[in-house]
Every structure is written in structure tokens, then in C-alpha cells.
Subunit: 131 residues, 6 copies
């Protein structure tokens, strides 16, 4: 039901097809998930978002799995159903084990709890943290 | 100005002192940050929260630095000023380099962006992610 | 499955019917969407919310379409599924084209990204913005 | 530094003064806090917001203190610094003891934690809760 | 479809069964809801979360119903579908009437509104609230 | 106190200076605000973010002022202090009058309220909105 519908590969413009091809090549998969097929209604946003994701989520000082865990953590905090489903799947492909997932959830839960405790108790930032 | 003020070490009950000592021993530091001194007004919550944090943030399948990066990611998403300051400092102590921080921020920013794109385009979860 | 069920027009009290009639007249439609039928379980909240919406979303210095775009932007940021669906539909009725929708989404995504970058980098407010 | 500045009592229009007077009378206080003095730049919003607050926060099936605790809970979840400060103060005036505050914070923290655990584990709603 | 599936009572380890039994005894019910069956994939988190919830949500200075209302308020602010459904059901069991629910929703809605008005108008915290 | 400090123009690399120059030229201003000076610690993110912002916030089907209002709306919903201050200032420069600001705030507040009412009442999406 996506707002503007999905752009399927066979119906895509050459510009969109090029992005789809790059996604499949980069990820070594043979299908495109709904997020990109929805974004493809706006080729400029599709292209920009994919290029940003490709650059940001690739290997760096942090490895791709760690980055994907962070992506899941943010998506869970934000209650984004689609993102939780898709990035949890991506994380598994990149090597997240069940034990890693459980620890990830424990940290995300705890962070959300103490974020509110510190706000609720109106805790001032320590001088030691202000540099 | 914390809501209930801070409980300083010298004024703490033996129960609170025991937690303070454990925090300093575990973290190899000689001071207690404001978060714990605010929570100490409620010794049960202080003790529970510290024990949970200690268990969850310790070594596991994920290493302590990765967990701390996840903590920062959540705190940034939630706009929790105190938590951003304190966990960024903790992450540095645990080995986060400036380059890691920059990559972390890039991922957090991107995740927050695509979380809204997927919600706004009302993207349905792919069958492939539903198992 | 709404928590308290829906109040259908034929079962509504005169007080609720009057609000329903005003909604349909104001919006030039012949049906009531689920949000109002759920709120109608609490006639005081129904009446207050409708009056507020009617006043706030009507023509002013900002035109009704701009206001509706802002409503969608907030709903997307908040991951409110019902609100995204209903206000996107309203925006279309008020004249939002597909191109406007795409630009709206791009801005909302970008704002959510930079909101976290500025928080994560702990950026202080410039003197120039403090007046 | 509020965006539009504050409207002080002595400079207020009769319409704004009437709201200020009603706030002070209702709350049995002799000053107006900054929130209202900022809103007063928009008399229509000032009046509407005050009337809504007055109606909603007054005695009902839930007593005023319980309502104020709920207000604090929401403000803490949302990381709204001003609202946490002002509604914590209001709650104390309405009878919130330190012990109540501590329990309130514990519940808010826990709810924020389990909200993420249930989202992260992608827990489906039980049939038993769907009626 | 929960990420790691559900752990049913008959398949549970003795450690998990003990938690399930305690949940059913404490709540005087004869079934376990999906949240716990998902968490049971991580027995340490299951046990810790249940013990925390049991301690925090039990009778204290605030009665169990008030705590449950606060839990619902947070869950609604966070747009957590599962938590809204489950804690609304729990609140009803603990005595929440329809009228209480309606007032709860009105307060939660209003708090979310004024949280943004105070942030948007950049209202400074009054000196009177800073102690 | 920004986490990595600020990169001032005189100390910037040619790559960063080029972005700073483009920001000042595009915006017809002679200074760089703290957000960019913090991001400049990560030239890749600085460049990408500026290029994205420049493209997205420029004239399109939606005019630049409308886009800026949407940016403010998101920032207010997210309680991002820096973003509220900087984008409110930008909006004024682009033509936002005080009356527009007041209407903007009213819409943002109302949207945040009804987002929670619809979630709290567990309102199902109408068939009419599902196409």
C-alpha cells in the first residue's frame, strides 16, 4: 500500500535500474526490497540515499556489522517497524548471531531506561564530561 | 540542580557507599558522576540500575566498546544531553577514536533519516523479512 | 479493534452527531474517519479536539495545505501510522501533488538526520541565534 | 531568550491579563511562569491552551496529582527540559512526595526499556489483547 | 513472527519455566503473553526484566493502578503498539475504568502538545523551578 | 564544548574551506554557524550533508520558506535545541513572520497531541486511507 506504490525493476527508468543494479551487486542479492522500490518514485532521493548508505555503511574504522547493529539500535529506539525488520535481517546476513542480537537488545533497552532516569532526575552534566 | 540533589560519598549510607565503591572499582576511576549521585536518593533504583548496567555492559559476545557505541547511538537519537556527554566520554575511555565517533554519528544520522523515509512512504514489510 | 470501539453516526448522541455533522460539512465529505469515531467515546475530548483542529488548520497566515504538510511531517517524525495515512490523504485532497510529497519526505528525512548530528556532536547554540 | 520574548503582566492586553488572572486564581499563586508568558504572544493559543489544561488537569475520575504524575512521565519520555522542571514543581505542590517521585521515575524508566524490547524482538500483539 | 520466535511453556528450560510460573502466580493468570515468550530466548534478560517489573510495579507509595496508567502514558507517547495493547489490558484488569482511560488519554495528548509548545517557543526554565 | 571542537575558517583544509565558501555564498552570509564547524571534523560528512541540504532545501515544488517551516516542525517534535534555534533563525531570514511562527507552533502542538490520541485509542487505519 506504500503511498506512491512500488517501482518494479521491469518498469524502472534506466536511472532507477542503475541504482537497483548497484544495490544488488553491492549486496550480492537478486531482489530489491520495498524501501528502495518506494523511494524510486523520487529518483533523486533514491540515488542520493543509496549513495549515502553505500558510503556510510561500508567498511571503515567500524566494521559493517557494527554499523548495522547501530542501525538496528536506532530503529528500535524510534519504533520504526519496517526498519527493525529490514536491518535485523541485514545484520543477520552480515554475521549477527542470536547472542549478539540479545545483547544488542539488552543494551538498547537499558540505554532507553537510563536516558529517562537522567532526564527525569534533571542531572547536570559533570564538569569532567564538558571538555 | 538535580531534582532531589546529589548524594555525596561522604554522606552516603553504607548501602549506597557499597555501590559507589563497586562503580569505582569496576571502572578503575576515583570519582562518581552525577547520574549515580542523583539516583542514590533512591538506593533500590541505584543498586538495580548499576547491577543491570554492570551485567549488560560487560564483555559478552559484543565487546564493551561496541556496546558503548550502541549506548551513544540511542542517547543521540533520544536527544538526551546528559547521556550523550557521559557515554561519549565512556566510549573514549574504552577506545573510541575520533574516526570511530565520526562514523558512528554518520550511521546514527542516516538511520534517523531512513527511519522517517520508510514511515513516510508507508513501506510495507517485505515477505522476505517476515520470518 | 480500537480500545473503546467506534461510535457510529446512527448510534451517536445528539452532541456527538453535531460534531460529526460539522466535520462533514467543513470538509465537504459524507463519512467520518475512525479517529473521530474512537474519540467520540469521550464527547468532551471529541468536541474540544475538533474545535481546536478546525480553528488551527483553517486558513490563516499559512494556507491549509502548508499546515497539512507540517502535520504530515510531525506524524512521520513520530512514526504514527494512523496519522501518516490520514494526513497524507488529507494533504492530497488539499492539493498536495506527488512532487510536493517527495520534497516533503526529503526535508523530513534530512531534518531528522541533522537533528541527531547536532545533538551527537554536542553543538552549542551560536550567539547569533540567541536573540 | 524565548523566540518571541515574554509578555509581562503589566504589558499585557486585557485579553491576556484575563488569562493570567485566571491562572493565578486557579492555582492560588501570585506569578506567571515563562511558558504562559511566551505563549501570550499568541493570545488565541494562550487562551485555548489554558482552557484545555484547566479542564483536563482538574479533578475528574483521576485526581489532579495522578494527572500531574502522568504529565511528568510524558515530559520525561520526551526529554522536554522545561516541562520536566515545571511539572515536577507542580506535582510537588499537588502533593508528590520524594518517594512518589522515585517510584514514578522507576516506572518511566522501565516502560521506556520494555517499549524497546518489545519493538526490537518484533513481538506480535496477543489475541487476548485484541478485543 | 517475533525475531527469535516464542518459547512456549512446554519447551521451556526449568529456569524459564520458573519465571513463567512466577508471572502466572503473581498475576493470577494461566497464560503467558508474547512479550515474555519472546524475551525467553534470552533467559538472563527475561529473569532480570521480570524481577525489575515485579518490584517496580508492585504496591508502593503509588498504587499498582497508578503505575500502570503511567506505563500506558509512556507507551502511547512512544508509539509502541504492543505496549499500548498489553498495558491497556493490564490497566483494565487492575481497575482502570473507561472514564479513567479517557482522562488518561486527554492528559497524555495535552502533555505532548505543550512539550512541543515550550520547546518551540524556546522557553527558559524559571528561576522558581530551579531549586 | 562540541565533542571534537570547532574547525574555524582560518584553520580549515582547502576541502573544508570550499564547503564553507559555498555555504556563505549560497546563503549570502559572512559567517559559518557552529553546526558546520563541528561537522567539519569529518570532511566527508560535512560535504555530503551540505550538498544534500543545498539540494533539498533549495527551490522546488515547495518554496524554501515552506521547507524551512517543515524543518522547524520536525526539530521541535524532536526536542532538538540547537536545531530549533538555528532553523527558526533561518526561517525568519527566509520570510517567516511572527504570525507564521505562531501558526506553525499551533499546528506542531496539535499534531503531537492527536498523534498520541490515535495511538492511545488504538485507531485502525480506515479502508479509505489504504489506497
Amino acid at each position: 500500500m506504500a503511498t506512491l506504490g512500488f517501482v518494479e525493476y521491469k518498469d524502472a527508468s534506466p536511472e532507477v535500474k542503475a541504482v537497483y543494479d548497484d544495490i544488488m551487486t553491492t549486496r550480492k542479492i537478486d531482489w530489491i526490497n520495498n524501501f528502495w522500490k518506494a523511494l524510486a518514485n523520487d529518483p533523486a532521493t533514491l540515488k542520493r540515499t543509496w549513495q549515502d548508505i553505500k558510503q556510510i555503511m561500508g567498511p571503515g574504522t567500524l566494521d559493517p556489522l557494527t554499523k548495522e547493529l547501530i542501525y538496528v539500535a536506532v530503529s528500535v529506539s524510534n519504533q520504526c517497524g519496517y526498519c527493525i525488520a529490514s536491518h535485523t535481517a541485514s545484520a543477520k546476513i552480515k554475521g549477527m548471531t542470536d547472542d549478539m542480537f540479545k545483547e544488542l537488545m539488552a543494551v538498547v533497552g537499558m540505554a532507553n531506561e537510563t536516558n529517562r532516569l537522567s532526564a527525569g532526575y534533571q542531572v547536570e552534566i559533570d564538569e569532567q564530561f564538558r571538555k
